[in-house]
Symmetry: D2
């Protein structure tokens, strides 16, 4: 298929390469010329501008951008996608943004006759490179079905979450819960160990009890409990504190707009902000346990 791809950063770059590997023809655009050059070397064609890409003969355009203002700029800007793209071109936004913005852009696309689905991902740069991302997709079922083969070239788990915006809803709800369970696990592990328990024994008990959760049994924040997790390599790699902080900002913003309380979610955002303000923004998000136990390295 002829596909346009806008946004070739840490996530978008490897995603685009996986599309090339799957045999698709790619036209790409990014503010970074070196990112574009890398993809061209791998077989893609460079578009001189978003407008040019929009007017080319692509059948589908995928965007992978840092935040809502970039998404609005690329789609709604005076010389943006919607001003130039033909109505039959399918649009997929894989950026992680707040659900309301996702719906606003999708409505603008619909008004022009284009279908736009939101398809944020989880799985990090590792999943983007390996092609094992999870896509949480919001939009019509027919549009989901049409996008499925393309998304499968980049991910393993492609879930239809309901109408437009629901991909973003699923992502912010899940990641807010992840932040809460991670901090809770950090507190429980630190409390138990400070009261005399061996961390591995405590994790074993929790993982067969009602406190069990992904942060305790797959990504334990206490050093030495599990191999191959950030806690066992100084909290490097993984999902950064500042990325979690961004997602918590989206979750509380969505809650504010929906006029719903997220009491632990709001506190989780503030605790990650506190931890980031103390200079830890680049550490994996499981490092939040250091806020509780300064002796953990």
């Amino acid at each position: 298929m002829k596909i346009g791809f806008i946004g070739l950063g840490n996530m978008g770059g490897p995603m685009a390469r996986n599309l090339l590997k799957a045999g698709h023809q790619l036209t790409v655009s990014d503010l970074s010329q070196s990112a574009v050059a890398g993809l061209v070397e791998a077989g893609a064609t460079a578009a001189a501008s978003i407008a040019e890409l929009a007017r080319s003969d692509v059948e589908m355009i995928i965007t992978m951008l840092p935040a809502a203002p970039h998404v609005k700029g690329v789609y709604l800007g005076e010389d943006g996608l919607l001003a130039h793209v033909a109505p039959h071109v399918r649009l997929i936004d894989s950026s992680t943004i707040d659900p309301m913005s996702a719906r606003q852009v999708a409505e603008a696309a619909a008004a022009r006759g284009n279908s736009l689905i939101d398809a944020p991902v989880s799985g990090g740069t590792g999943g983007a490179t390996a092609g094992t991302l999870t896509f949480m997709v919001g939009g019509d079922k027919a549009d989901f079905d049409a996008a499925l083969p393309v998304l499968q070239a980049m991910g393993k788990n492609i879930v239809h979450c309901g109408p437009t915006g629901n991909g973003q809803v699923a992502k912010v709800a899940n990641n807010m819960l992840l932040a809460i369970t991670m901090i809770g696990t950090a507190e429980a592990m630190n409390l138990g160990v400070s009261l005399g328990m061996d961390p591995a024994v405590l994790a074993g008990i929790i993982n067969t009890s009602s406190g069990r959760n992904w942060s305790s049994d797959t990504y334990n924040p206490y050093p030495g409990v599990m191999d191959n997790v950030p806690a066992s390599r100084g909290y490097t790699g993984g999902f950064g504190t500042d990325l979690m902080l961004k997602d918590l900002g989206l979750a509380t913003e969505a809650a504010k707009q929906a006029r719903q309380p997220v009491i632990l979610g709001g506190l989780a955002q503030q605790l990650y902000q506190t931890f980031s303000s103390q200079g830890n923004g680049a550490l994996d998000f499981s490092a939040i346990i250091k806020l509780y136990n300064g002796a953990i390295k």
Copy 2:
């Protein structure tokens, strides 16, 4: 084996019956004469007092009491267990109390020559009746081994958590984490549904993603997502809000004594207190979602 059993309430009663069924000889004591009468009818012998029970020819004594003051009273009181029991009698306290109190009583027992292990349970009255409780045991490995066959008559999962007090530590750490993950799951489910997602679809995504936890995949608080959980029967049955509140009180008390922060744990305690103060103490603890969404019945 000849076993003494003190405390025949909602939990202790069925536990004692399971010991009788397993063929043990029981001498029992409780403030409630009807509770004692019930056990006598089932084959137990009644002791006129704790002192008499302590001086009888039992080889082991199990206590199952509501809170630390009762445990201290029964063991350390002027006419209590330690004042009368022979040194070779093994002592097991299955009450849920704070780790410091557990260690204090165990030290007093050790000073008299008795081994005392702490063995709080999880699994509720259902598990007590079915004999499928989990026992979290603190004490010497040899004492744990000696108690194991007896505990197996009452439970399915018997875990050695380390030295004296660690059974209590494991329980309060796990249950604090349970409260946090339950409230977090309630917030995430309510947020997602209020933003337009189907609750079952959202639960499905969370349960295959990083937000996954026991409260989301085994005990989901949103009505209609799972059968056979309190959320699908008006939050009746299960583990009561006020019991969770008691455990959170123990967790924050233990954290205070250990001089460790439990930031989400402390907030969870206050939220359950708020919910209980609004008249919901008898509802299952997953009903906390009603604090967020008044429309849930």
Copy 3:
């Protein structure tokens, strides 16, 4: 002076009337024709559009709008103020919005040669009517000085807070602190009374001690402690819960953009959201004490 006034709602209406009373000539604009008619009856001239008002011979334009999107629309819109106003016209925005938006609009004004100061108010509709508002002003000192006589016709306390945006900063910082002290006062009063103290005696002690604050000594949330406060008339009148919720949203948004934690501030926002979600958004913000004590009416 010839002054334009845009936004004639609950606050803007009485503010504009005070300008008329002080002898200024007013040209006004509002989406509500009845609001415009009321001011015309009081002596103002109606402008057919924002563009017309901008192109009239006014020397100063004051805007009083509900939220940042309205402010951006009125100033930055295609047919908005900045597209039509002459460079010498002084601009004053008295809306309460986030500091970043205030600075963004002020920069756009500066680029066109207009000075724009932010001048949010406190004092409520009562202060707007009585002309006793507090104005917190951000902008150059010369612009502040030029605006001072006009602001004095509407307010009593006019404070220069520093460069552009600082008026908004002062307002959100103060109101976030107000929310925290109000909830804290509610908790302390409820705790003390539930432990047996007379509320008036407790308030008296706090007000001469280190817990003293505006919410305890001027606006006490416990019924019967003070006359002439919302707590003594069923929490009617005053500063509404949903208005406080809006200001807390601005404070946490500003903190997010500044990458600073506001831990109690974030929790205060969530608690007011919880209280509002339970149907109390129209009650005075001191009614938050009902979240703690359901018996208070």
Copy 4:
């Protein structure tokens, strides 16, 4: 008057000296022999034991002890005060403990025929030395009146708070509110300054607005805003973080026993615990602002 004084620490020592200065005859007791020696040098008589002090011809006994277990030990212990003191001797406990313990000890005293009032203080070691403490007194009005002249030798502000235990209630309620307002003030100051405001200007605005509180206008935590406060001398002196932490522990314990929520109070406790765990327990409690802004020294 002939007065017994038990507990000659940082607070009790200077309080006892002020009684001597006022002309009272003192019999003293403390675990520290050097503390006793100091008072003897100043004119007091040493008692060999609490029992001896209790049996001496004193008319009143004042206790000033670190925590509830010490108070219970001194009053209720086998060889304690109540076992030996004559019924007419008036008892005053100036320790800061939880209200329930205070009431429990007072009831035991009443059962022996002795009146015991609780009279915790605020004002710190400075107030103890200067004789300017505030006493918050719980007990019968007649007992309050009888104690008044003695308390006036040690303090300036003597307040009757109602029946037994209410002195403790007033103190924990006030100090919990103090912790909340201090953290709130720290957050508001840090937020405003990070957004570009001068700290002194911001404090000035808050102090004439609805955010005004003792922590903002008398004890501002931002360095340089006020002279002669701990913030302007590296957070030395004043009221230590760990003392505030102790009072917050009493407040949340009292709330737990009263089954009332203290949501911000509970979070304040956890934040002070976090700050203390990071090695700051000896700093003045206004240093909590450093949790938000690591650049503040």
